[in-house]
């Protein structure tokens, strides 16, 4: 199979992927609000993510982590403020939403694989229907990424026949088949048995090494420490603290982050 770089814009090795400040940021959020009725799920959120940067978002349950990440590909619609993804403004216009979704891939806690399609069909559907790829091309592409997540032998199975860890790796491969520039993960390992967490984190680590821009909601602090360039800590809809992992774990500035870390690390 031919060499297929994960992502043409930033196919640089992770260690060298210094965030370039003059470049258009991968994600830029300015004073973003999201309300559910009277409840404010995002409260004046500002966030900037450089290309190639790996962000881990953490915080207590209900703090708005999922909402934040879901606003970036407009699965949730923000009410106020500005969101730019690779320079495209998410202004609720169809064509911009489409463009942003083409640049982003998403992995869900509950996998959300299509249960009535085989693993291979799950991976080829979007390339064929949204990108007009031929079936043969799409299959090659799918097998390339299924090999990458180390389950090419499961291609003809249905999702229900796979373990949770395998399903989540298929979900990652499925997203990669659209060649996104940014990957969004919402607690990708929270629904998994402990022995399967590792294989999924391993896949994500590999992706990070290849230079993918990543925003990841997770409570896997080991992963955060190793992979993240920056930790974003949220509480009650606000970004309370942002810091490099060493800094954040050793010396959290806010009281809220300190109690959160105590709870999570015991």
């Amino acid at each position: 199979m031919s060499e297929m770089p994960m992502n043409t814009a930033s196919g640089v090795a992770g260690a060298m992927a210094q965030p370039q400040l003059r470049e258009v940021p991968a994600v830029r959020m300015e004073a973003v609000y999201k309300h559910y009725g009277d409840f404010t799920a995002l409260n004046e959120v500002d966030l900037k993510v450089a290309k190639g940067e790996k962000i881990v978002v953490c915080g207590p349950s209900g703090s708005g982590k999922s909402t934040l990440i879901r606003c970036i590909n407009h699965i949730e619609k923000h009410d106020e403020g500005l969101i730019y993804v690779n320079g495209i403004e998410l202004d609720h216009q169809r064509k911009n939403i489409d463009a942003v979704r083409r640049d982003t891939g998403m992995v869900f806690q509950s996998f959300n694989l299509f249960p009535h399609m085989t693993v291979l069909e799950n991976c080829t559907l979007a390339p064929m229907t949204a990108n007009g790829m031929s079936e043969a091309e799409a299959k090659d592409l799918a097998m390339h990424f299924l090999t990458k997540v180390r389950i090419p032998d499961q291609a003809e199975k249905f999702p229900g026949q796979l373990s949770g860890g395998q399903q989540q790796r298929v979900a990652i491969a499925r997203a990669l088949c659209m060649r996104p520039k940014i990957m969004l993960f919402d607690e990708p390992t929270s629904a998994l048995d402990p022995e399967m967490v590792k294989e999924v984190l391993e896949t994500m680590r590999k992706l990070a090494e290849e230079g993918m821009t990543m925003l990841c909601v997770t409570h896997e602090m080991g992963f955060a420490r190793e992979v993240a360039d920056r930790i974003v800590f949220m509480n009650e809809g606000k970004v309370v603290e942002q810091a490099a992992p060493e800094e954040f774990f050793k010396n959290p500035k806010s009281e809220r982050a300190r109690t959160f870390l105590d709870q999570i690390i015991h």
Binding site: N73, H74, I75, D98, R101, R102, T104, G105, M106, F108, S110, F111, N112, L113, F114, P115, H116, M117, T118, L125, A126, T129, A130, F158, P159, G160, Q161, S163, G164, Q167, R174, A175, M178, A191, D193
Partner: protein, 243 residues
């Protein structure tokens, strides 16, 4: 005359006149299913729409047609509407009544099928840049349809039997023709034995078709997700029995 003649019953079973009634019963059922599905799909879409006028109308429609006996609906269409100058042929009356009624039941089945497909499926489709049409056609519809088959099957079984109500407005289907034979020869048990056999055959054939459909569309779900917190949609309640 106090005995039952099996020979006479068999003869009625092969009676050409009665057989043609069976064909009318089948025709009414098939037409009402097709018409009911098309109309029911529309009613279901309206019911799921965010437009309050559309969803309100759909709600009213379902409430009305499920809340009144099919028998009254048929009689009103056949004998009542001409009073307002609206007149259809007998067979049209029967079809209109059956379709309007069936659509109300099917709309609820279609709607609950779509509601049972988890929101995560749609979100995954959006995240993959699938168009609304592809999302519907390839992601939600097949999953919803699989969930619809059991209640759909029950509803069609009820409909098959409910076509006998059309006999009241003089449609010569199986029930009506049985009545006619019975009044001619007074072999009540023998005639109705033949008719009963036909209904049983028809419902059994439909059962077999339904089972094959379920098997065909359920092939991927046969392997139930192991370990994973399965987010299986809620099981459907069986279709309500008709008046």
């Amino acid at each position: 005359m106090s005995h039952f003649s099996p020979t006479a019953a068999v003869n009625y079973f092969f009676n050409y006149f009665l057989m043609k009634g069976v064909l009318v019963t089948i025709g009414l059922t098939v037409a009402a299913v097709i018409g009911g599905l098309i109309l029911g799909m529309g009613i279901a879409l309206m019911r799921m729409s965010s437009n309050p006028v559309l969803s309100g109308f759909s709600r009213f429609y379902i409430w009305f047609f499920r809340g009144t006996p099919l028998l009254i609906q048929l009689v009103v269409i056949y004998s009542g509407l001409p009073q307002l100058g609206i007149k259809f042929s007998v067979i049209t009356c029967a079809l209109v009544g059956l379709i309007l009624n069936e659509a109300a039941y099917l709309a609820e089945i279609v709607r609950s099928g779509f509601m049972a497909v988890s929101a995560g499926q749609r979100e995954a489709a959006w995240a993959l840049s699938l168009s609304p049409w592809v999302t519907f056609r390839r992601v939600t519809l097949p999953q919803a349809f699989r969930l619809m088959i059991p209640p759909l099957g029950n509803s069609i079984n009820s409909l098959l039997k409910a076509t006998s109500l059309a006999s009241v407005i003089s449609v010569e289907e199986l029930m009506r023709r049985s009545d006619m034979l019975m009044q001619e020869h007074f072999q009540i048990l023998e005639v109705y034995a033949a008719a009963t056999a036909y209904y049983l055959i028809l419902t059994s054939v439909w059962d077999a078709v339904q089972r094959r459909l379920e098997k065909h569309f359920g092939r991927s779900s046969a392997a139930k997700s192991r370990r994973v917190a399965a987010r299986a949609p809620v099981a459907q309640t069986s279709a309500e029995a008709r008046a």
